[in-house]
């Protein structure tokens, strides 16, 4: 057990991903989509977490990188024959080249990173409210580019279709595990630790030599890569994509996942993504009638989003650090509450002895 100690916080997220995969493999093909969606959500939310969790800066723009990844992986895997037909205005470079599933995911991650780096250069100087607004503007810009620029996407926001559906349970699980490993490796690294320190106290971080702007940019770029990968997984799951599928609703949903799980930890990101994604899938199904054993549950339209909104609000009020309290899962470690009382005791003792 002790030799596993350094990677212990990675085990819990990976085990949860494996568990979701196993349960999903036992269900019907239709239900299985909910589990694939949960795994793709884990990847998206880990991408969000790599930046927000480690830097403490809010970003509403992360789904832009998912969008870039989805369009890149989608367009590059449609065979060149039909591609000319469905995407007449496309840049000839994209139109004339097609790649396989795995290269398309790698390119999605690469472009996500590149895009994040470019927008991050000016943006990472901001924090607080201005960071929120500026990243939101990035989401807006990306949405409009994908809707109205036929050289990179179908005309006027039409569906990009005919994308090979290569994301089954296995690929979704593999992607989520890759994301978890990358996020974990980063947060344990020297740079990750420096950024996390700046999240706690900016002045103290500056005093120990942390170039906060640069460390944030690195995290933002890495989160762009993970988000791009997630976009690739997503488009290969659905087989098609529209700009509005990678826009406001997904932004809200994935932020809710991160907040519910706990922004401060990889474990929180994973738990939140799994729980909220499954809940969202089943609530949406319930709007069309969900068979629960003997009876059928039918929710009024809009109920799913309403329930998620209430859940998010309740979470922010009652448990602002999320279900996990923003901590990693650490088996066999004393609980903080115990440490707290033990140390209080030692100080009481100390005070008496000294005076």
């Amino acid at each position: 057990m002790s030799r596993l100690a350094p990677i212990r916080p990675l085990l819990a997220p990976v085990l949860l991903i494996v568990l979701v995969t196993l349960v999903g493999s036992l269900t019907s093909t239709a239900t299985q989509q909910n589990f694939i969606t949960a795994l793709v959500s884990v990847t998206i939310v880990i991408g969000l977490y790599v930046f927000m969790g480690n830097s403490g800066v809010i970003s509403f723009g992360q789904v832009s990188f998912v969008a870039i990844g989805a369009y890149a992986a989608g367009e590059l895997t449609i065979p060149t024959g039909p591609k000319h037909y469905v995407l007449p205005g496309l840049w000839s470079f994209i139109a004339e080249h097609s790649v396989g599933n795995l290269p398309s995911l790698a390119i999605a991650a690469g472009l996500g990173a590149l895009y994040a780096l470019v927008v991050g250069l000016p943006l990472m100087r901001l924090s607080g409210l201005s960071a929120g607004i500026a990243t939101f503007a990035v989401l807006e810009i990306t949405y409009n580019l994908l809707t109205f620029w036929p050289k990179i996407a179908p005309q006027s926001g039409q569906t990009l279709s005919l994308v090979p559906t290569t994301t089954g349970l296995t690929q979704a699980a593999a992607g989520a595990i890759v994301a978890a490993v990358v996020a974990f490796a980063y947060q344990r690294s020297r740079r990750g630790r420096l950024l996390r320190a700046s999240r706690e106290d900016q002045s103290a971080a500056l005093a120990i030599g942390v170039d906060i702007h640069r460390e944030r940019l690195i995290a933002f770029t890495l989160s762009g890569a993970v988000s791009g990968l997630a976009g690739g997984l997503l488009v290969h799951q659905i087989g098609s994509i529209t700009p509005s599928q990678v826009y406001l609703e997904l932004t809200f949903l994935t932020l809710a996942m991160l907040v519910v799980g706990g922004t401060g930890s990889l474990w929180g990101a994973t738990v939140g993504a799994v729980l909220v994604s499954l809940l969202d899938s089943y609530l949406n199904q319930a709007e069309n009638g969900l068979h629960l054993g003997l009876f059928k549950l039918t929710l009024p339209s809009g109920a799913a989003d309403l329930i998620l909104g209430v859940l998010l609000t309740a979470m922010l009020v009652l448990r602002p650090r999320g279900l996990t309290g923003g901590r990693e899962w650490q088996l066999g470690r004393p609980r903080v509450s115990k440490i707290r009382s033990a140390s209080a005791m030692s100080y009481l003792g100390r005070g008496r002895a000294r005076r």
Partner: protein, 260 residues
């Protein structure tokens, strides 16, 4: 005392931390005015003065947390006036804060390791330095506790250890002994001396504990209303009547009585 390094300064070598003619004005308040200050390697300088004298402002201006309205800062012959704080830190200029500012959620050990990581040390080196400093500062028992759980004085010791983990050329400490038990002060004085002698660093220490300042300083600077009021060895300062009037006052008299 006081002869170990302070008297060796020829003034010719570039190896000094130097603030030349610095001024800092806040709306209506002249926190620093035409101030000159120097700190050599292997030297402990005590900086004293009444509340609001400008001690913290001077540390802020030197370390890059505040911009001087006039004047220049030079680090071993290099003009660093335009450098951001983090770059100055990586160049060997460490500081602590009057408010402590530990990373409260991280353990004591992680706090100290970060001091080394911040200036580019690897994980192993950081761990080794932290182990060493935690034992020097008598913090080893608390190594695995979140820093926020420590008493105030202990948190300041963590902040000092964190600053020292960067192996700074100069370290500027803002009231590091506030909140320490009287019985810990002499151990802390020993730490300051070993930073000077063992790490070969220049130390600027601001504190209201006159006994500590008198005990560790090679030289003392007295600041009042942003200007230098006096400068000299602890003995000279103690005899200086102006200083007694401006700063020591009642507490100075008590300090004298305790010693004499």
């Amino acid at each position: 005392m006081g002869t170990s390094g302070a008297s060796r300064d020829g003034g010719s070598s570039g190896a000094r931390l130097r603030a030349t003619d610095v001024a800092r004005a806040f709306k209506g308040v002249q926190a620093l005015e035409g101030l000159n200050f120097e700190l050599g390697r292997h030297e402990v300088v005590g900086l004293i003065g009444p509340n609001g004298a400008g001690k913290t402002t001077l540390i802020n201006v030197i370390t890059g947390f505040d911009r001087p309205t006039a004047g220049a800062i030079e680090l071993d012959g290099v003009d660093v006036t335009g450098w951001p704080a983090s770059r100055r830190a990586r160049a060997g200029l460490a500081r602590t804060f009057q408010q402590g500012r530990v990373f409260g959620e991280l353990t004591v050990q992680e706090n100290v390791e970060l001091g080394a990581l911040g200036v580019g040390a690897g994980a192993h080196q950081a761990r080794a330095r932290a182990d060493e400093l935690l034992s020097i500062m008598q913090l080893a028992d608390h190594a695995k506790l979140p820093a926020s759980l420590l008493a105030h004085g202990e948190q300041r010791k963590v902040a000092v250890a964190r600053a020292l983990a960067s192996r700074p050329r100069y370290v500027l400490m803002d009231e590091p002994a506030a909140g320490l038990f009287e019985s810990d002060i002499s151990a802390f004085a020993e730490v300051i001396r070993s930073v000077r002698d063992g790490y070969d660093a220049g130390v600027l220490i601001v504190d209201h504990n006159m006994a500590l300042i008198m005990a560790v300083s090679d030289r003392i600077e007295v600041l009042d209303q942003g200007r230098s009021l006096a400068s000299g060895t602890p003995e000279e300062i103690r005899r200086n009547i102006d200083v007694a009037a401006a700063y020591l006052g009642a507490s100075g008299v008590t300090a004298e009585r305790e010693r004499g």
